[in-house]
Symmetry: C2
Subunit: 168 residues, 2 copies
DNA sequence: ATGACTGCAAACTGTTTGCATTAGG
DNA sequence: CCTAATGCAAACAGTTTGCAGTCAT
């Protein structure tokens, strides 16, 4: 029932300390943190690293559960995510059953997802369709900017009942 | 901070008992209730009537607060909305700060909204832009149908900081 | 008749907050 | 140093659930 998707979570070294600095997205995230006037702390870097490993939106609880033993407190993840969101590092991509699923903002073309209402499983839409939606959304953003809205963002999510084959 | 928008709520007779049957949307809603195998009860009709009066998505609490004195219990609104949603009478249009805002599904062209992150005020996008978004969303739905998804739905919401003038 | 619906109270769950402590710049 | 960030425990808010009584069909 809770949102799931094959994550790279349990892939390799979790308590890693070396490959952390190599991920280009992590480095970018780090600099964005600084430019947003936020402090670069150990818990935050761990959260961001875990976030980078995700292949699709994750819930805060899921993210925290996937972190090493006691990488940081659940509350810290909540506060960190709030800060990241304010700083534009992350965005709430899906809201499913009262829980938000986050994703890193990579400046890369956004991909929208479908969430299965029976299994909670998440799947991405094709790049083409996502692209078209992006274009339409861009027009909307433009209209809103024209009306004086600042920091315009949007969230688009599809839901449906996935075919049995896809459910597992 | 809570979502607001000029509603037709306090317009005229609230405890009205006569104009209730005249609204075409209400009649439609009533028949949809029946065809969905749901019972037509007094509380539900009051909820649907209130819903019809809304000009934009409303939260359950707001809807309940706007009902006559004790038209029905808050819990009943929650359960009624859940039933309406299952029956396709209503849909969750926006999710703002942990609260869902609902809207009647009229089969009419859907209009998307922007919610101001500072005032919580809701405003509709132009019909043109909404239309384009609709078209793009339709393609996505098609893609999903092709993949075997059933009962595909979507939610699209914009957010931003409205210009001071619009804030009040 | 009879099962769906309602009301009331209590439970839940995701999220937030206060405060003392720790640590980043 | 000085302030932002963390951890812990407790508070919150929206939503859900159990159960007994009621009403639509």
């Amino acid at each position: 029932m809770s949102p799931t998707l094959p994550t790279a979570e349990n892939s390799s070294a979790e308590n890693a300390s070396s490959p952390m600095e190599t991920d280009p997205r992590l480095i970018l995230a780090k600099s964005r943190l600084k430019s947003a006037g936020l402090r670069v702390t150990q818990p935050r870097m761990k959260i961001l690293a875990a976030l980078c490993r995700q292949t699709s939106p994750v819930s805060i609880e899921h993210l925290h559960a996937g972190l090493p033993a006691a990488a940081c407190n659940l509350v810290t993840v909540y506060r960190g995510m709030a800060a990241f969101e304010r700083g534009g590092l992350v965005h709430r991509a899906v809201i499913h059953e009262g829980t938000s699923l986050y994703q890193i903002t990579l400046g890369q073309p956004e991909t929208y997802h479908v969430i299965c209402r029976s299994s909670g499983k998440l799947a991405p839409l094709s790049a083409e369709v996502s692209g078209e939606l992006q274009k339409a959304a861009a027009k909307a953003r433009e209209e809103l900017r024209g009306k004086g809205y600042r920091e315009v963002a949007h969230r688009l999510e599809f839901s449906g009942v996935a075919p049995p084959a896809t459910q597992r």
